[in-house]
């Protein structure tokens, strides 16, 4: 395990205003000892990547329930690759249909958490993924 706490950016991408899930997850990650930066609403993919690099996070958690995930998530992954930052783990939460989950996972999203996921699952996924990367 790393000595320093994990740094995680929790972000709302797009115009979607449903932030209950993002805030609950952010709080749970914080209670699990991680350092959490929450972006607030209405972030563009560019703003997410910029904040992630600036804050030097190891993990980005993106929440989206508006159905715009196929348009808004690939640019985030693309920009991370361009910035040589594909080592940042990207996890996604929201209402995401199965076939889109498969596509996103093929394109760099580490995991997608759909409704009913527990914060425990999310925390243990992040911890084990970070360990793997080290």
């Amino acid at each position: 395990m790393a000595d320093k706490p994990l740094r995680v950016l929790v972000g709302k991408v797009g115009l979607d205003g449903h932030d209950r899930g993002a805030k609950v997850v952010a709080q749970a990650l914080r209670d699990a000892g991680m350092e959490v930066i929450y972006t607030g609403l209405r972030q563009t993919p560019e703003q997410i990547v910029e904040a992630a690099l600036q804050e030097d996070v190891q993990v980005i958690g993106l929440s989206i329930l508006s159905g715009a995930h196929m348009q808004l998530l690939p640019p985030v992954l693309e920009m991370l690759r361009e910035q040589d930052s594909s080592d940042i783990i990207v996890v996604v939460g929201g209402i995401i249909p199965k076939e889109d989950v498969a596509y996103l996972k093929d394109n760099g999203v580490a995991e997608v958490f759909t409704p009913g996921s527990s914060t425990e699952e999310i925390i243990s996924f992040i911890n084990s993924k970070v360990e793997q990367n080290q």
Binding site: G14, L15, D16, G17, H18, R20, A68, I95, G116, T119
Partner: protein, 557 residues
């Protein structure tokens, strides 16, 4: 027998019952502590001693009588059932128009329009921030041309229409009025509701544009314009729904909604309106969650509290000003992606509690909404659920059938007390706008949401199919697929409209609007003029953004 003797007899009988119960519990302990979502610990049962000194006339009275605890009309559903109003909207105006006509054919009695996020935030479909969002969570409306298609062949004098639109509510209302005029329908013959409730957008829903005080000005402009011009329109739907979806308790839902309502009333009074001029057109929107009896009590308590506030605090005289009329939607956040058919049962119980609570209109969620926008078949099942409640099970045959129940009346009182405690705290902070600016309301809701999640994860709260009774392997469902070409077509249409309209008219209307925004003049006539000139929603909101500025979110975590 005197009251005293009756009471002693009761106490004696209760004591001997309690002794028996203690023995039973010793042998067979109860499963857990039982409490309401709003944290009231529940007793084993309730009895006449819980309602000692209960003043029927003061607390309940008959239906249609102050304080309207039992309902706002004397005959309630014996006269007319609630309006069955399914919220719908996706893709283009054409597709949504088809869904509306399908629902009307199936016996739905009112329309409810869902707009996409760019429309709700005042961006045209070709704005960079609209990327990926056009037509997703609702229909895209950029100009009057889209509204004409949306309402084609729907007689606006025969249906009432609810529009879930807040920051740009004035613009969409103006478009609706313009279409009615084109259909040759007098404006005093159209009926419906705009949500127009900005305060809960800052708290819970997120589709704000302008800062709070400027937003309040627009809302008051709509109130005062409506008094003269569209007297039968509900100018606001003050919403607890999204506050509850964001994770609040039942008590918080009512408390924060009514605090917001108080802020609107005060803003209108400050602007010089008379309370009885606008208060009859205020309407409300609540959530119907899973704790069945608590929800019924919540609706009854909300009616009583509002009646008292309007009468005692604001001195309203018109009985219609005192009546809390409300729409209800079942709780989207309780729908599960696992075993989605089980959602049909959740929705049915939630809908029944809304009916037993005396709702004026109802939306029942569809079983597949934790997975996607609902399919036509799922929406039909949801509508049929309302029809079963209305026509088959006798739940509507007498008014307020749960009234007088020891339990229901006890928790109705409890909810009222707790709500008033919150309202007093918010008053002390200077009102809802200040409480929102301080982040107080947001933090309270967040704490409840987190607590709820922890209860689910510790299995203190059971969610069937999620943390108990899980099944492996999921049944496939036919989900609604969006047409990816919709967004492109919408972008083309707005471009065509921009080319075909009289640009001089548009510029002049927008210039007038700017001047009105910079002065105290009512914005509505200017917005109406701009809309009729086919100015786009983005252009109109753009002028207002320039003059009013934009809200910067208060991040509370």
């Amino acid at each position: 027998m005197s009251d005293q003797e009756t009471k002693e007899k009761l106490l004696k009988a209760k004591k001997s019952w309690q002794e028996k119960v203690e023995k039973v519990v010793e042998k067979r302990p109860e499963r857990k502590q039982f409490k309401l979502d709003s944290d009231l610990e529940l007793k084993k049962t309730y009895d006449p001693l819980d309602l000692e000194n209960f003043d029927y006339l003061e607390k309940l009275n008959w239906p249609g009588e102050y304080p309207f605890t039992r309902g706002i009309q004397p005959t309630m559903y014996r006269g007319r059932l609630w309006t069955m109003r399914q919220y719908a909207g996706f893709g283009s105006a054409e597709e949504t128009n088809q869904r509306f006509r399908y629902l009307l054919d199936q016996g739905q009695t009112g329309l409810s329009v869902a707009f996409d996020l760019p429309t709700q935030i005042g961006y045209d479909s070709d704005h960079p921030l609209a990327r990926g969002e056009v037509g997703k969570v609702g229909v895209a409306i950029d100009t009057l041309a889209d509204m004409e298609i949306l309402l084609e062949n729907i007689p606006l004098d025969q249906v009432t229409t609810s529009m879930t639109i807040n920051s740009p509510a004035a613009v969409l209302l103006a478009m609706y009025m313009a279409v009615a005029e084109k259909q040759g329908i007098a404006l005093d013959k159209i009926g419906g509701t705009i949500q127009n409730d900005i305060l809960k957008e800052y708290i819970a829903r997120g589709t704000y544009i302008f800062p709070p005080r400027e937003s309040m000005r627009i809302i008051v402009d709509i109130f005062s314009y409506a008094v003269e011009n569209i007297p039968t329109w509900n100018t606001i739907s003050i919403s607890g729904y999204h506050i509850r979806e964001a994770g609040s308790t039942a008590v918080q839902e009512v408390a924060f909604t009514l605090s917001n309502a108080i802020a609107y009333v005060e803003a209108a009074l400050e602007a010089g309106l008379e309370v009885d001029q606008f208060a009859p057109r205020l309407s409300f929107f609540f959530n119907s969650h899973s704790n069945f009896f608590e929800e019924v009590a919540k609706f009854r308590a909300a009616r009583r509290i509002w009646a008292k506030i309007m009468k005692e605090r604001f001195g309203a005289k018109n009985p219609r000003s005192l009546m809390l009329r409300f729409h209800t939607q079942t709780a989207g956040s309780t729908l599960t992606a696992q075993q989605p058919d089980v959602n049909i049962m959740r929705v049915a119980f939630q809908a029944l509690s809304a009916v037993l609570g005396g709702t004026q209109s109802l939306h029942t969620n569809s079983r597949d909404e934790a997975l996607a926008l609902p399919s036509e078949h799922s929406v039909l099942l949801a509508l049929r659920t309302q029809q079963v409640i209305g026509y088959e099970i006798g739940s509507v045959d007498t008014v307020d059938p749960l009234g007088g129940s020891y339990f229901i009346e006890t928790i109705t009182d409890h909810i009222e007390e707790e709500v008033m405690r919150y309202i007093e705290r918010i008053d002390e902070m200077g009102g809802a706008v200040e409480a929102i600016e301080k982040g107080f309301i947001q933090k309270e809701i967040q704490a409840s949401a987190y607590k709820y999640q922890k209860e689910v994860e510790s299995q203190e709260r059971v969610v069937v199919g999620v943390n108990k009774f899980q099944t492996s392997g999921e049944q496939p469902m036919d989900l609604l697929k969006m047409d990816p070409a919709t967004s492109q077509r919408q972008v083309e249409r707005i471009k065509e409209v921009r080319l075909s309209r009289d640009q001089g008219n548009v510029s002049e209307a927008l210039q007038d609007l700017r001047k009105a925004a910079q002065s105290d003049n009512n914005l509505m006539p200017h917005i109406l003029k701009a809309v009729k000139a086919y100015a786009t929603l983005g252009e109109i909101c753009g002028v207002l953004r320039d003059v009013f500025g934009e809200y910067q979110q208060q991040i509370t975590l």
